[in-house]
């Protein structure tokens, strides 16, 4: 029995991405390391994403708190608002929303940048000048995305919780200390660590898919646009798939209770 063309294309693409990931581990992590370019990418991917992550995190915390309040008031458990918002942000909403924002900004940027370098022969020029473009362009971007997303998530979560604090104080008065005490009394390392660990995988997937799409771009400027677009779409889907797997794993380990 022959598979339909769509299914064959899907498996073909999945295989190619897996091979690309394998190349990252076999070639990209071998000396000599492109440390200067790695730090440069960490600055571009991490530091320059902070304002966007901070803003969306703040709004996310504020809106979530305002949306949850009426339901909790109805059941008479308004005092549980900080704990509920804290757990929701740290365990799930923070990492996933921040990763999606990150995929939109960084995945598309890597896809477009490498795609445009590919179609203008800059990647070939790098190769003939004795540089391994995979190590210089791909490995550094994938590593930077993997390392920076967890840091951005922790910072984004913190800003989001501050937004939640403002949200709580719009309709009532809660001190800063009491708000945070209520959050941290209800959080454990079992909530925080799996959430941070999965963001390494989110970052890796975003960097890898963006690089794969850009590095294999073709068909001129149209191909560059397509690379940027599919990088974001595929990365976003991968974030949810990884999240689903992470939940199953933490469930098996008994960390969801």
């Amino acid at each position: 029995m022959e598979l339909p063309e769509g299914a064959r294309d899907f498996f073909d693409e999945t295989g190619k991405i897996a091979r690309f990931a394998g190349r990252f581990f076999t070639t990209g992590l071998k000396p000599r390391f492109e440390l200067k370019e790695l730090f440069n990418q960490c600055f571009i991917i991490g530091y320059k994403s902070l304002p966007l992550i901070g803003l969306t995190g703040f709004i996310m915390g504020l809106v979530l708190t305002m949306q949850l309040r009426p339901s909790l008031v109805e059941y008479g458990v308004e005092s549980q608002l900080p704990a509920m918002v804290g757990i929701a942000i740290v365990r799930e909403i923070g990492p996933v929303i921040i990763a999606l924002i990150f995929a939109g900004k960084i995945g598309s940027s890597i896809g477009a940048e490498l795609g445009s370098m590919k179609v203008t022969e800059q990647i070939d020029a790098m190769e003939v000048s004795g540089t391994n473009p995979f190590k210089y362009l791909v490995a550094t971007r994938v590593a930077a995305a993997t390392l920076m997303l967890p840091i951005l998530t922790v910072l984004g979560d913190a800003i989001s919780l501050f937004g939640a604090y403002i949200g709580v104080n719009i309709r009532s008065v809660t001190s800063f200390n009491l708000f945070y005490m209520q959050i941290f009394q209800n959080l454990s390392y079992g909530d925080l660590l799996p959430a941070v660990i999965k963001t390494f995988f989110f970052g890796f997937a975003i960097g890898l898919i963006g690089s794969y799409k850009g590095y294999n771009s073709s068909m001129g400027t149209r191909g560059v646009g397509s690379s940027a677009n599919t990088a974001v779409v595929l990365s976003s889907v991968m974030i949810f798939i990884i999240d689903l797997l992470a939940v199953q794993i933490t469930d098996l380990l008994g960390l969801n209770y």
Partner: protein, 261 residues
């Protein structure tokens, strides 16, 4: 004439080549993309300090040929021997070392558009297995820019330069490691006749100064006339004819005449 003077190559200790020694030998090269056969049993020889122009229609496989020589494409069969080494058999490190002796000028210039002219030129110096001091890097950058007459552009971005200036910067970048062979992919395409002539003169000037062997891909007959010692017509993936520009000009062959009309 000996070619490995200090000027020709400042950092290798290969055996000295004499004018007339073969530096590139291609034997029965075949390359296809799916069902599209681009090169079939193509053979040619390039000697030290010789400029060979490969002439052919668009899509004839000229660019594929030079990409096989530099190792950007792997041939299906045949030999591509450069300085005695068969390129398809080389591992990555060996290929990187060989590439320090081969320059490649891309048709699109392929300047790194996020870097300044200086960074473009320094890039290949910083990444070689030979370590250059900062003074040496500065000297080589200045020398490369002086060769193409564009020292004032050192801190400019490629986008700020005209097409002709970009081509000259690309040539300076190609020359900075003092290669012994340069592969030019349509160096004058898209340039006005005056700038194209300047590029031709630059190619000849650099060849004389550094004793370089070149393969020039072109269908600009002025460029062929100005730069070639020998011309190869690539047709149907094979070497259809080989000779000097004057011999080709006098030929009555229909396949050759169409390039002169």
């Amino acid at each position: 004439m000996m070619s490995t003077t200090t000027e020709t190559s400042s950092f290798d200790n290969d055996k000295e080549l004499k004018k007339g020694d073969p530096v590139i030998v291609i034997e029965k090269l075949c390359k296809s993309f799916g069902a599209n056969v681009v090169l079939r049993d193509f053979s040619m020889v390039v000697h030290e300090e010789e400029n060979v122009v490969v002439l052919g229609k668009s899509g004839a496989g000229k660019s594929v040929l030079i990409k096989c020589i530099i190792g950007l494409l792997k041939p299906d069969s045949g030999k591509v021997i450069v300085f005695g080494l068969n390129v398809p058999d080389l591992n990555h490190d060996e290929l990187d070392r060989l590439r320090t002796k081969i320059g490649f000028l891309f048709q699109s210039n392929a300047l790194y558009d996020s870097m300044t002219v200086r960074e473009n030129l320094e890039f290949s110096l910083r990444r070689q297995w030979i370590q250059f001091s900062q003074d040496e890097v500065d000297r080589l950058v200045t020398e490369a820019l002086e060769n193409v007459g564009l020292t004032h552009t050192v801190d400019m971005m490629p986008v700020e330069l005209s097409g002709g200036m970009q081509k000259r910067i690309a040539l300076a970048r190609t020359m900075i490691l003092k290669p012994k062979i340069i592969l030019y992919d349509e160096p004058t395409t898209g340039l006005d006749p005056v700038t194209a002539r300047e590029i031709d003169n630059l190619i000849l000037k650099l060849q004389k100064k550094y004793h370089i062997a070149s393969i020039i891909i072109s269908h600009d007959m002025n460029c062929v006339k100005n730069t070639s010692d020998n011309v190869i017509l690539l047709l149907d993936g094979k070497c259809y004819l080989e000779g000097t520009y004057e011999e080709l000009e006098q030929s009555a062959d229909e396949n050759i005449r169409q390039f002169f009309e």
